[in-house]
């Protein structure tokens, strides 16, 4: 019953955020299309790159469409639904967390779902289109199609978990907005490179400590090879990251000293 109420409340929050986003239709369209064009330019850069290097350890331009599509889709889902996730650090720094603490709901969920990111909808559409193109170019079988939504769910959990972790650093290191952004970009950057360039210790580091490969190359690898061990590893990593991140936020929350700003929500 309680879970049902929470889900209904989250649905209402997202619905409200999206309605306010759709209110300004021309601005909405401009931003969504703008972001999609931007992402296409990114793909174009990789096209130029692979004109020079042809392939990187067996990975070529086709795989880069898959990687960029997958990352864009995960990014789009997380920030379209819960853009507030990137504002935790700032809210803490400016003592604005209080307004989320006084309502009888989970504070972390309240912050995460407090905002929607318009241009992330562009990433979402771009991700879907790129993955459709990637699948069409690859002639995948039914199982390879079926595994995609499952991988998206776990990649979203990992991505969200890492952002919550990076944003929660603020409870221990004051004024760390820039550090949180740096950590976020440190994860996003490697995820946009061909997965095959990461080997040995670097691969372990970017899989488990900074889980960049789990939102990009590893899911594409799983689609290609349908390796059950890799799928199970991804499930474990997703649960572990989300669990750890939520715990870290809750530990940090105990250290939070209320600001003197008065605000209502």
């Amino acid at each position: 019953m309680r879970i049902k109420k929470q889900i209904l409340w989250l649905y209402e929050l997202m619905n409200f955020n999206l309605k306010s986003v759709f209110e300004y239709k021309s601005a909405f369209l401009m931003q969504v299309i703008g972001m999609m064009i931007n992402n296409c330019a990114f793909i174009f850069v990789w096209y130029l790159f692979f004109q020079i290097f042809t392939s990187v350890n067996g990975w070529g331009f086709k795989e880069m469409i898959g990687i960029n599509g997958f990352v864009a889709l995960v990014y789009g889902i997380v920030f379209t639904m819960g853009n507030g996730i990137r504002k935790i650090s700032r809210n803490v720094t400016y003592g604005q967390l209080d307004k989320y603490l006084v309502i009888p709901k989970n504070p972390l969920l309240s912050i995460i779902f407090s905002d929607a990111h318009i241009s992330a909808i562009g990433d979402l559409f771009f991700g879907i289109i790129s993955l459709v193109i990637y699948y069409a170019m690859s002639n995948f079988n039914f199982m390879q199609i079926l595994v995609l939504p499952i991988l998206i769910v776990f990649a979203v959990m990992i991505f969200a978990g890492f952002i919550i972790f990076a944003q929660s650093v603020v409870f221990w290191i004051p004024n760390s907005d820039e550090l949180s952004d740096t950590l976020f970009e440190f994860m996003l950057g490697p995820s946009l490179y061909p997965n095959s360039t990461f080997t040995g210790i670097i691969r372990i580091f970017f899989s488990f400590f900074i889980p960049a490969l789990f939102i990009s190359g590893i899911p594409i690898n799983i689609i290609l090879n349908l390796d059950i061990i890799e799928i199970l590893t991804m499930v474990v990593v997703a649960i572990a990251w989300l669990f750890f991140a939520v715990k870290m936020f809750n530990w940090g929350l105990r250290r939070y000293e209320s600001g003197n700003l008065v605000g209502i929500r």
Binding site: Q31, L48, I52, S119, N175, L183, T197
Partner: protein, 267 residues
Amino acid sequence: MNLKKKLKKYTEVISIAQNELFASPSNYIARLFIHALRISVFGIIYSFVFNESGKTTIDGFTAVNAVWSLALVQIIYQCSRNTFTQIKDEILSGQIETKLNKPYSFIVFSFLDAIGQAPAKFLGFAAVTIAVLITFFGVPDFSIIQLVGFLPLFILGLILQTLNLQLIALSAFWIENPDPVFWITSKLTWIVNGTFVPLAILPIAFRTVSDSFPLSAPFFMGRIFEINSISDLGKFLLIQLVWIMIIMFFIRIAYRKGITKVSINGG
């Protein structure tokens, strides 16, 4: 006397910004550490890509050049401060009204506040970059003109990057939420400035298009290996200077028009 007073006032802004950086040294140290990791990763990726392809150079550009190029772009990012969020928040929250009656220019104040930390950050990030790159990836053959070009390209680049962010933030006077504009331009910047793929290995046509963007000009320091003569350096510096003038002009207009839209409420 007036100028002396102004200088004193604005020097104080820079000094406060610097003190802020050292108020939480753990934040600064953690960022230096992440920067070291990030450029190491770039190094590993490009060493791998060049090795695997069997190419030692592309138009005279080596894997070591590529790593240095990407690291230099990162230095500009790390030294500039996110003045966008600060200005945007003040406009949207209405707090800007409390700044308008102060005896300073809001734009100059936020500009100096943003670049005030740059000298200290530059020293730290440059030291880490040089240490990591020399230790693990080697030193490219720098010419005298390239060594001379570093500092002016960095200074003008940092000024332009800060101005770009200010201009985007000022759009908050007209649009309800300028975040998407910031996101779209940030992503476009990654493409045209060589954040992920050094521009030197891309076709000349792409570089020419990239040159014409005010978003890529702040990061010319990353293209240091394309500078072979004083005229090359002059071209990059001139582009940066022209964009600084243009963006300053637009900031002036946007700010003047924008503050007329601020409504001050009592209470």
